[in-house]
Subunit: 349 residues, 2 copies
């Protein structure tokens, strides 16, 4: 860490209170047994009202808070769920709000259920072990894996160890793990259809990376819809970053000067494409129509504002959380949850 300066002086805080009240002391104060105190704390109904009140008062007076470790030692549950972000850290938290929005959705749903969120960021293969150890060590009741790469082996491994797991995005290859995904292919078709309907002739695409499910499925949708309309595909491939959008657009312009529309597989890349188009002197939407995918905040602020396919990222997080919660409750869950995408019309088409 560069440029660190530390102020004079020090401060310290004692180790966290060792003298916290236990159930025992609550019971004593309320004049009941530990078992009864436990019943009240856990909301059992089989306790006489006046006793329940006495215990409640004791809890309040003492400021009693149940000890988590002791409780989960006997219940075998921790009330916390891990969210694993498998991506090189640098990419995870670029200014693409994808992961962070997932986190937000997950957090909301876990909150409602009174569960805690343990966030784990893994990048190297070595840290896969860490996650496994952690989950198996009984730190968490379940695991959600938010990976960009559908071929990640981690979810399968965890599932095989008997740990409830849920992933985002259809896993590439066979996998017994429930997943949450959006209708990527359908969204791409929506986009292309829109372009066709608004009279565009030469419709290109800037696809996402082909080792990610989203990238693949959106390209598939683009191709399928064009094929249905008997048109030719014009494809450049990016990696979801702004910079790659710029390069891909330039390449498209060079290869196919007559292009009059582009379906871009992410808003960030679309912003790059817009920039490249402007620099090339093409007007949007007059000369070239541009449609993105995501409906990020940024889509409302590009020039012109970006027509795009909205995917409900926060809902992905929510759905993942709900699935894993049901798994930890021992319920059966459907093998996948599919969320819909929709066209958001703005001014770039």
């Amino acid at each position: 860490m560069a440029g660190l300066t530390e102020r004079e002086g020090t401060m310290s805080i004692g180790a966290p209170g060792r003298d916290r009240p236990t159930l025992e002391s609550v019971a004593m104060l309320a004049g009941v047994s530990r078992a009864t105190a436990s019943r009240v704390v856990n909301g059992s109904t089989t306790v006489a009202p006046h006793i329940r009140e006495a215990v409640r008062r004791a809890v309040a007076d003492l400021g009693y808070v149940p000890n988590h470790a002791a409780r989960s030692l006997v219940t075998q549950r921790t009330n916390s769920i891990a969210l694993v972000l498998t991506e090189s850290a640098g990419r995870v938290f670029s200014d693409d709000p994808y992961f962070t929005t997932i986190v937000e959705g997950v957090s909301q749903e876990l909150d409602r259920a009174g569960k805690q969120l343990v966030l784990m960021m893994v990048n190297s293969g070595a840290s896969h072990d860490r996650v496994e150890q952690y989950a198996v060590g009984g730190h968490v009741d379940g695991v959600m894996v938010a990976s960009m790469h559908g071929a990640d082996p981690l979810p399968g491994t965890l599932a095989r160890m008997g740990i409830p797991v849920v992933v985002n995005g259809r896993p590439m290859g066979r996998s017994p793990v429930p997943y949450v995904d959006v209708a990527n292919e359908r969204g791409a078709r929506l986009a292309v259809r829109h372009l066709i309907e608004t009279g565009r002739r030469r419709i290109a695409t800037i696809a996402g990376p082909q080792d990610m499910v989203g990238g693949v499925d959106r390209l598939t949708g683009y191709r399928a819809e064009l094929l249905a309309a008997d048109r030719r595909s014009i494809v450049a491939v990016g990696d979801f970053t702004r910079q790659s959008g710029i390069s891909a657009m330039r390449q498209l312009l060079a290869d196919e000067p007559g292009v009059d529309a582009v379906f871009v597989a992410s808003d960030l890349m679309a912003e790059g494409a817009l920039r490249a188009l402007r620099q090339a002197g093409r007007r949007v939407p007059d000369d070239v129509a541009v449609i993105g995918f995501d409906d990020n905040e940024i889509a409302r602020f590009t020039e012109p504002p970006l027509t795009t396919i909205r995917q409900p990222i926060m809902d992905i997080g929510r759905a993942m959380a709900r699935l894993v919660l049901r798994l930890t409750d021992g319920e059966e869950v459907e093998p996948s949850v599919m969320l819909s995408t929709e066209l958001i019309r703005r001014e770039s088409t």
Copy 2:
């Protein structure tokens, strides 16, 4: 959640293995006592080499992983640290990468120390209680509070309960809580000085919200530097969002048409300002110089690329983690860590 469709069929995963090996079984297999097995697992050196090996083998054979709850019940430590994000969820995870970068820094440092990260997002006052209960319940060894508002009462409350706490940003008002902050005032002065040195005459600012320390300190720095140069302040106030940057810039232009430079307290607002300037037909940097604050990813992609004051956000996270780790180890720590800011010259000045 809108547009949810669920696939046919169900799948389920059994509750996590109840039949996991315990220390007892490891000891038995290795032909030693539980105490000795524990010694090996915890890396004690006072175990004879051949016994240590036997235990290691037993651990590997059985796939033994220590039970977290049992361990922390006796050690009174959980090996996990909470990061509390106090902001209305919507704002926390907009496309401003501030919080997410903090999370990344924190995560890196916690990883190194083998600690886990528990992420808590609180917004209403009610959930403050939840955090307190959680921390006091012994779920975590320490708490980092990443708040935008320096006046948040939570850190003080936690500290008073004897829980190791660290915050980001100098707390407004008296507080015994160690904090990590960047040299906001100095950074602002750097920016203004740069503007002066490059020959600008009428230097305005778009300040951040005045209920946040960053907003206040940057405005203070701006004023101080101008005062030192015997110039007049021209101030508009935004709220760190892109939209507010647009509005503030328009207002500045209306109030003070002769303005030829603006120090904007965040890159996101600066991007808005750039847009407003362009719409008003002002050229950047020819007519008006613009300098931002943050050095987000976006700063490299504005038109023109944004000169800005870089603040090491990830280092804030790292420093917070290191501080709280030291507190949980019972060490004394300095009351604050100050990180430096620096000028990044690009093409908007």
